[in-house]
Structures are given as structure tokens and as C-alpha cells.
Amino acid sequence: MSQSTHHADQDALIGPGHTMATLTDKISDIVLTKKHPLQWFAVTGIAAIFASLLALTVVNLFFTGIGVWGPNNPVGWGFDIINFVWWIGIGHAGTLISAILLLLRQEWRTSINRSAEAMTVFAVMCAGMYPLLHTGRPWLAYWLLPIPNSMGIWPQFRSPLIWDVFAVSTYATVSMLFWYVGLIPDFAVLRDKATKKVQKVVYGMLALGWRNAARHWDRYETAYLLLAGMSTPLVLSVHTVVSFDFAAGIIPGWHTTVFPPYFVAGAIFAGFAMVLTLSIPLRIWYGVDDLITDKHLDNMAKVLLATGWIVTYGYGLEAFMCFYSGSTYEEFMLLNRLQGPYAFQYWSLLLTNCVLPQIMWVPKLRRNIWALYFVAMSVNIGMWLERYVIIVVSLHRDFLPSSWGMYAGSRWDWAMFLGTLGFFTTMFMLFIRFLPMISIAEMKALVPHKPGLATGSRHAAAHH
């Protein structure tokens, strides 16, 4: 009996002693009254400097043109597409946590879904910047859309590039809707708890007058569940379409059917690494380790391990198919990856994505924040290198040796990449400051219900 109690404590999704009221106070106080830790100001300050660097690089790009970047002939795609794919992949874990895990009734998603959804929204913003900016004339970006224009021309709907426009813009819209809908009841909590006039008014407007009525909740839950049900195929379609950008081309190393599943798994892999990167500091700074528990970290590490193996399988199959296809160009591409000028990047990505995450097999290390942080950073870097290798290695050795070239990101490329990292971090820090980083309404459903006490919903009661 005592042993099972101990086990239950270790695997609890919520710290002991929490009631609906204490949960409400704890999460809303972070936004309404709590003094923010010094680390918040330090990180936000540094991130804001990098976000300003982004503004600088954009201005320079507008005045000079995309010649300030590294792409050349034959490497026509560089940091713009590498970073686009990296960022949008990161966003996918947020949708996975909020939508797919909701449909699978994984209750542990509840304390991390809000921050993961925020991460999605900001990552998609960073991703969206690249295709717009790489057109060189972003003020003409509306040419991408199927709208009547003075030239009388229309998009070509057989191309994966226009599919990308549809997929990414739908994804950005639905991610924001999903995030906002989740926030409505929490805005109402903040409105009701706020003591300052301005907080009451602003959160009150955002809550739309939400008053927790039973009929409203019912429609709300239906809408939320349907959104989750639609986001699930959506998120799979988005990275599938992103992979079509490559797979539909006849470039060696791109023209392969394994791309869609392997891109989707890679996206989830990268995204969970980013969720860990963000939630571990939050846990420490705001003392919410009773809400984002060791069990959460443990589960996220397991997802990381599983998706890591799917990605590893993808690398293996890619290599196998290069020989199995019998295509000289494919075979050369693989040998060039293994021992060509970018071999360092290829071997580094195998180390960071396939080898280092294997320490997560040790249960103790899955609950050790330093080990987790190390693995998360390793995967963040590894997944960036993966896109670098896919794009640069395939392009820099063209079909004719006379057209071979080399590629390296220019300092403006690097400055813009650091700038998007700064923008992303700034937005995330502002989110922590002004919005509840854990879903208050959903957490309350996890409080066990004891008859006669002011706790819990029927859903949680039935579960225990």
C-alpha cells in the first residue's frame, strides 16, 4: 500500500495539496501580481537586442536585395529555406501536444499545452518571415495568393510551392485560433482576479464576456475538440507539403518517397526538444515543478526518444535507397554526404540526432534536468544541421561537375537567424509575462474530486 502511494506520488501530474482555488491563484498570480525573477529581465533584455538585430537585417535586405545572403548558383536555396523548415518543424510539437495528445486523452499534456501552443504561434511567425523575405520584394508577396491582379495571372495549382502557401497560412491561422480559444476561459479568470483597473479592462475585453455558463462550456468543448480533430491532419499535411517542396524536385537526395513521414517525425522531434528547452527554465524560475512535474519531463523524453528513432530510420532508409535505386547521382550524393566537403555537418547531425539522445534510455536521466537540457540542445542543433545537409549537400554538386560550387551563410544570414531566435525568445517571454502559461481551466479538471469538498470535475473523478 505504502509502495503504491509512493509510486503514485512520483508519477503524479499535479503536486499534492492542490485544490481548484490554489491552482487558480498559483497560475494567475504569475501574471497578475508576482514579481518576475531577475532571469526574466535578463533573458528578455538580451533577446530584445537580437530581435532588434532582426529589424536591422530586414532593413538592410530591403535596401540592398537578397544578394546580401549566401545563396548562389548552384546553391539557390540557403538559410532562408533551412530556417523556414527548422522553425515550422518546431511549431509542430505544439500542435501535437495540444491536438493529438488531447484526442488520445493524454492528461499529462494539460500543463504544457498552453506554452507549447504559444511556441507554435511564435515559431510559425519566424518561419513565415523567410518565404516572404526571400522573394526579395516582400511588398509584392501578395502575388503568392490566388487573388485577381492587374496582370491577369493566377497561381499554378499543380506546384507544391502554392500548396505550401495554402498549408502554412492555414496552419498559422488555425494555430492562433486554437491558442485563443484555449485562452478565453483563462482570460475570464484573470478578469475576475485582477485588482488593477487596466488589467480588468484588457483581460475582460479579451475574455469576450465569458461567464462560465454550462451551455457555453458545452459548445466550447465541442468547438475545441473539433479544432483538435482538424489540427491533427492539418499538422501532418503541413510538413508533408513542406517535404513535397523537395520530394517533387528531381534533385538527388530530395526525390524520395520517405520524405513526408520522416519530415513529420523530425518536426515533432525538433519541437519536443524546443518544448523542453523552454519549459525547464520556466519550471525553475516560476517554481511550477508541482504543475510541470518530473512525470511530464519523463514523458517528453520518451517522445523525443521514439521520434528520434523514426528519424534515424529515415536516415538509414535514405542511405539504403541511394544504393538500391541504382542511380549514379543518388549514390554519389550519399558518398558526398559521408566524405564530401560537408561531411562534418552530416556526421555531426548523426551524432546530435541519433547518438546523444540515446542517454534517454536511462530512467534517471529522463528526470534529470541537466541531462534533458543537454539532449534538447543537441536535438535543436541536430535538426538544424539535418536541413542544412539536405539542402546544401544536394545542391552544391550539380549534375555537371562544371556547375559545382560551395555554399556558406553570409554574416547577414547568420544575423537574421540570430534575429529570429531573439524575436522568438522575446515573444515567448512576453507571453510568460502577460498570459497564463498553464491552462487554468484545464488544470482544474485534473484535481481529484472528493465529495463534499470544493474540488474537481466529474471527468477527473471518474478517472480516479
Partner: protein
């Protein structure tokens, strides 16, 4: 306490406060058994089974289905109209109506339209945004978003009676019963 008046309802309704959801469920069932229809419950989290007791129909799924259907027609219609009628281009000898390729944009517009319908349909059916509502006049109602459960009987209910209804709510395990002014 204002003195009850004979005919015109001077208040919006009576609001009962509970600290336990079981008591709220019992109260809702008792109210339905008495034939009260203009009733509503307010709870910090969604409680399954409660809306069924209150009695209403949820039209969100129907709206979302229609939204998705319109999305499919719009998406495919756009691809077809552009590629076959308005701006036919020979791309690698593929037919103008390359419907397989049009599946992807069609799928995305379906998701987009259905999602927008789900969110705005829910908001509109809920009558939001609604900046003012009489229940907010009761100060303790602010605890509803924290940990308290509330039950209201509206004065426009045909069976509403200033004394009878108040007595009925007081007989439940309510912490308090308050008048809700208009």
C-alpha cells in the same frame, strides 16, 4: 432585500452558490423536476452531463460540417476555375483539370473554413462578445472562475415566483441565494 412586487419582475433572477458540484447537479435536477425552464448553471470547469439536464441543443457540429463542406467546394472550385477556365496553362502535358494535385489546396481550405466556423460559430451561438451581463452584478460571482458553482433561475421563467423560487433554492445545499438585479 427589496420587497417582492406582484407582477412585473423587478430582478433578473435568483443566483444560488454551491461549493460542491454534486449539490449543483442535485439542484439542477430538482429545478427541472419542478418544471423550471429558464435556468442556467455556471461552473469553473466544464461538467459533463450538466447541459443535458438543463436541456438544450448543441448546433456547433452541424455548423462545422457545413463550414467544411463550403471549404471543399471553395477550394476545389478555385483550383478548377483558375486552371481550367480562367488561366489554362500546359504544365508538363498534364490535364487542365489535374484534380489529384488540387486535393492539397482543397484539403487546406476545408480545414480553414471548418476551423473558422468552429471558433466563430461557438462564439456567436454563445452570444459573445457580451460586455455586460446581469450575473456580474453579484460580487461573489467572480469566484465562479476560481472554485465556486452557481445556479440561476431567471425571472422570465413562467413558473418563477419571487417567494417560491427563493424558498426552493434555499432548500438546496446552497451556500447563499442572491437576487440578481437587471
Amino acid at each position: 432585500m427589496s420587497s417582492p412586487q406582484a407582477n412585473a419582475a423587478p430582478i433578473y433572477g435568483y443566483l444560488a452558490e454551491f461549493d460542491d458540484k454534486d449539490a449543483l447537479f442535485a439542484c439542477a435536477k430538482a429545478a427541472r423536476a419542478r418544471g423550471l425552464t429558464e435556468i442556467e448553471a455556471y461552473t469553473p470547469t466544464p461538467l459533463h452531463g450538466l447541459p443535458e439536464i438543463l436541456g438544450y441543443k448543441n448546433y456547433v457540429p452541424h455548423m462545422v460540417f457545413m463550414g467544411g463542406l463550403i471549404g471543399v467546394l471553395t477550394g476545389f472550385g478555385l483550383c478548377y476555375w483558375v486552371s481550367v477556365l480562367e488561366y489554362p496553362l500546359n504544365i508538363g502535358g498534364k490535364p487542365f483539370n489535374s484534380w489529384q494535385a488540387f486535393v492539397v489546396p482543397t484539403f487546406e481550405t476545408m480545414i480553414l473554413f471548418a476551423s473558422l466556423t468552429a471558433v466563430f460559430g461557438m462564439i456567436i451561438l454563445n452570444g459573445l462578445p457580451q460586455p455586460y451581463h446581469p450575473v456580474f452584478n453579484v460580487e461573489k460571482f467572480a469566484r465562479c472562475s476560481s472554485d465556486r458553482f452557481f445556479f440561476i433561475v431567471l425571472s422570465r421563467d413562467p413558473k418563477f415566483d419571487l417567494n417560491e423560487t427563493r424558498r426552493f433554492l434555499a432548500e438546496q445545499k446552497a451556500l447563499s441565494v442572491d437576487e440578481v438585479p437587471h
